[in-house]
Point group: C2
């Protein structure tokens, strides 16, 4: 049923050629917040278990959530389809066929044991925005495209495909569903052999806008209603290996040890010190550690750690890494151990576009909502979309900053605020870009 | 064949009633060092693989090594038998039947991927000492018993049985051979249902003396020939749990974290600082660490570590633990994390007996060998034997302090020195106690 060309033939039936009221001047326009919450609750019930939401991409629950979302697109009078990458698209024609489309949306898949808000809030709000416009008979200049990316949580797969960056190596990878990405795409109605048809060229979109829960606790702690996202931070990952000498913990005096775990402990502290030594929102984390041989009565000979650095500015990440690398080698010299680093992943920062940020800020102001500019510490499909056009994101508060958990929660009034900011930002971009 | 009463009937045939030359005044007496090295090489060939010695207790290689050792006892004119616990005993009558026996020996089992010296040096030297006495027709006042304990490496099993401390829980435990200790004892000719017959009462032995490689690098580094062991250190083991809050490493600012791994890193450094803050030979080690959830992009919520403290003085271990516990709670208060400790094991220190130390020191001096008093950081059967009588140990250098490894090595001249010190210490104790 979820054929990618499913509704293409119905385009004529869904558009209402007679309506050309300009949409820009609808200052009192609001989404139907009750309907949006009802939709969110219905979607949240799909794949819900005692340990949280289980809408992991390509599983039965994910497919059921996608079918529900497609139905909702149709109810919003969108021209609903599935592209070759398995992304859900809901199109609404604009008044000027020469203009590129304005894209907005998010995702509906979840992590294992996830929550009801990360992804669904942005996806269903986008559909609600389109439905509100359709109900009022408001027509934008640009074509609108609501996009619900597939498998965001498994590595931004849908948006990578949309910017033409999904490689055969990605397709061969086994996803958390147990299926390869390739088989997963086929299972959700995509066409893994025809991915090129889903790819968009740079410059082919007017803008991409995404509403999302913050996932951090800044807006909640500071009781700010709307976050204007400055960009999505860059992320560097390194595997750090500390080599000492495994030895008998009973017979090796303290001053004759080359204890790799002691050096690793000093390293963890140095990472924290270096990252916090200068003002800014950069973060640095050691979250994984393994000590070998790992016995209480043997001095550790080898320790492997993860190092992660994030910041909006790639130069800051480089500088922090340089200082950490220097500190590590100083520890090694003092302790008779050696440190080596191997970079395992690098995502460069994706800054949002000033004009899109302005549209979000103006929209929130017109609604009387407080705003704060802040980076997104988490990754989003928006970072891929930034490579082909102007990009922006709207954050709403996430209570206690919890996400990827059944305890993830955003208040209905914040969700309504987010959807209305999205609505007016779309209208503002449509008028301004 | 290895029945525990195997050679009891042969006692008369092996003793030579006519010989009563007193043994004490044999200052120029020496063991046959070449024969000892030949025996060590033969034993070392049993169970030898590319990755080291595999004489793990109860395995085929262990049983072959024991059969070889029993044969060697018989060649030394010892009354060889296997007790109900599976220990090998080689008796030689003394001239005064009212005196308790003088015990000396070690073990022949190895760790997996072990070496040729840890255990065999003391066991085969003890037999060589008895053989030397037999060849010279020298008779001690005390009965002599060469003892080769079973399964030393798996938890001092044979000596625990000899002091009556082997429990049903020990017997049910699966040993590294895959067999339970109970089945292992039966497999090596013991009688697990009659262990009480192998137990000795406190005061029933004149002394226990054990020659062993140092396993640490002190004698080798300081080019001392003989170590006079002050005692076997006490060992405390704790499981330490650090609880923080798992959170998103990208969206949680540095000043809002409760990072259990950062607290654990500070703890590891504090253990090192506290243990080294006062002079002494105490050691403290964190060798095992586990961080949960253990992902590069998640702040660790829970970390579990091992803590091990060793010293000859139980009060020192208690004091160090107290300071470490205090330091941990200070870290917890500063970091918003909590520390909890659970003691998982406690071996109290076993001090050697001053008279036995004197006998070892006098023996070495008479042979012109340099000595150093030092603790044993590793555990030995001697620590159990200290509970039923006077105890002492003789260490010889272990090159680079390596043990439990195929690279474990002690020089032939050091082995000969050790055997001769054992010989004259036995004669000294026989004369003096």
């Amino acid at each position: 049923m979820l054929r990618r060309d499913f509704n293409t033939a119905m385009l004529g039936a869904l558009t209402v050629p007679g309506l050309t009221r300009p949409a820009r001047s609808q200052g009192d326009l609001r989404v139907n917040a009750d309907r949006l919450m009802t939709s969110l609750r219905s979607l949240g019930a799909i794949g819900k278990t005692d340990t949280g939401a289980q809408r992991v991409a390509y599983t039965e629950a994910d497919r059921a959530a996608r079918a529900f979302t497609l139905d909702l697109m149709r109810a919003a009078q969108l021209d609903a389809s599935v592209d070759a990458a398995g992304n859900l698209l809901g199109r609404r024609a604009g008044t000027d066929p020469s203009l590129p489309p304005l894209l907005f949306g998010s995702h509906v898949d979840s992590v294992p044991n996830g929550g009801d808000y990360d992804g669904p809030v942005g996806s269903l709000s986008a559909i609600e925005v389109a439905r509100t416009l359709a109900e009022r008979g408001l027509r934008t200049r640009h074509p609108l495209e609501v996009v619900v990316f597939q498998n965001e949580e498994g590595g931004l797969i849908g948006s990578l495909a949309m910017i033409g960056a999904l490689t055969p190596a990605h397709l061969d990878r086994t996803s958390q569903s147990g299926m390869t990405i390739r088989d997963g795409i086929a299972a959700i109605g995509g066409a893994p052999e025809a991915l090129a048809s889903a790819a968009r060229k740079a410059g082919s979109i007017a803008a991409y806008l995404e509403l999302h829960i913050e996932q951090g606790g800044t807006l909640d702690a500071e009781t700010v209603q709307i976050g204007v996202v400055e960009g999505i931070v860059g992320i560097g990952w390194w595997e750090v290996t500390v080599e000492g000498a495994a030895n008998h913990a009973g017979t090796t005096p303290m001053d004759r040890r080359q204890d790799a775990l002691l050096s690793a402990a000093r390293f963890i502290q140095e990472v924290n010190r270096v990252v916090r030594a200068t003002p800014g929102r950069q973060v640095g984390t050691v979250g994984r550690i393994e000590a070998r041989p790992g016995a209480p009565n043997v001095i550790a000979g080898v320790v492997r750690l993860s190092l992660e650095l994030r910041d909006l500015d790639a130069a800051t990440i480089r500088r922090l890494y340089g200082e950490i690398d220097k500190a590590a080698h100083a520890i090694g010299r003092a302790d008779g151990t050696t440190f080596s680093f191997r970079q395992t992943s690098e995502n460069i920062p994706a800054l949002s576009t000033p004009e899109v940020r302005d549209a979000v800020r103006a929209s929130a102001r017109s609604l009387g909502l407080s705003t704060k500019d802040l980076p997104s510490g988490a990754g989003h499909d928006a970072q891929d979309m930034a490579k082909i056009g102007p990009m922006g994101m709207i954050f709403i508060p996430s209570v206690d900053g919890i996400s990827h958990s059944p305890r993830e929660f955003s208040r209905p009034e914040d969700i309504a605020n987010g959807a209305n900011v999205l609505l007016h930002a779309v209208l503002g971009l449509d008028a301004g870009i």
